[in-house]
Assembly symmetry: C2
Homo-oligomer: 199 residues x 2
């Protein structure tokens, strides 16, 4: 009986593919074992359990997404960078719905795994450096990062959940929302509580 030749990486990748097909929440150890031509107990030699597998998929996805965004925005700045960033983000989520869902889990990921992963940290750096093209100073910069992340994530997950039932094509709303985000970043309002106005 030949070995299946599994490793943590192969198991994680197969899990990610399965999650993309059936949905992250329906990812199952038994189904994954069946897909790999193996008994479910065999997976526990590579992965601590279902939670561990989910966490690994989340980190894999964070890495992949970051790479995509980095490639898409390389050499761009300002509006072009923003559109490329958002487009790469959204495309990744649509191509890999299971993996994308994995990145949203409030689950605690094994800390030692997290320490090794570079994806999440790089993603933050990418975002800040892209937004630095706009004339934002802290703390506005952090607020703007949070607004942008909220908007992208919200749009994508509402779209995935079928939340945009209206007849208006989603594609056009997407493009117009990016227009709006861009102008907002260019004209970020002063904090009415902190700054006196120019009078």
């Amino acid at each position: 009986m030949a070995r299946a030749g599994l490793t943590v990486e192969r198991v994680t990748l197969a899990g990610a593919e399965l999650a993309d097909e059936v949905g992250f929440e329906r990812l199952t150890m038994s189904a994954l074992a069946r897909r790999l031509g193996v008994k479910d107990a065999s997976l526990y030699a590579h992965v601590r359990g279902l939670e561990d597998l989910r966490g690994r998929i989340a980190l894999l996805a964070a890495d992949e997404k970051t790479v995509r965004i980095a490639e898409a925005t390389a050499g761009l700045a300002g509006r072009d960078a923003l559109v490329a960033y958002a487009g790469a983000y959204r495309d990744y989520a649509r191509e890999h719905p299971g993996r994308y869902t994995a990145t949203q889990i409030p689950t605690e990921i094994d800390p030692e795994l997290l320490a090794v992963a570079r994806g999440p940290k790089r993603a933050v750096e990418l975002t800040y450096s892209m937004l630095r093209a706009y004339a934002l100073r802290e703390p506005d910069l952090t607020d703007a990062v949070r607004l942008m992340r909220s908007m992208l994530h919200g749009f994508i997950s509402l779209e995935a959940a079928g939340g945009f039932a209206h007849t208006r094509p989603v594609e056009e709303s997407w493009s117009r929302c990016l227009d709006a985000l861009h102008t907002l970043l260019e004209h970020w309002p002063d904090d009415p509580d902190k700054e006196g106005n120019t009078t």
Copy 2:
């Protein structure tokens, strides 16, 4: 052996409470039965199954959330209405994380249940009528609604997932994001592809 006196409504409500405590994805028929002092099989007299229960919780949450928003925004307009709307939305999500998660499910809800529920439809009406205070014409109005929903939902779910690890207090970012949203709605950019500018 006295009866527990269950009805669909009581089961749904208890399910919603349980979901708020342990998380929507960990809501389970057996656990709900235990909480109600009943065997799990008994629940199937009131609810078609776990999926059905989840759908009912989602509709309950949509109703409750809509009522909250309606109360909070009653009599307000413009900026005040926006802040009240967003605040009610976020507070509901934080008080009832399980129910809120339920509203995001891409799951198909039993159509005949959906027909009876007024929550989702009223929520859309509320949003449009609130935004009508800003000078937006279709299709910009729909795009603005989508942007606002995306931002609110995204912010709330990132916050719930612990996505805002930075030292900046979330409360302040929230308030500043609403400032930004307000000014954006007041100065919604023209569509560069459609309209010539004023030159």
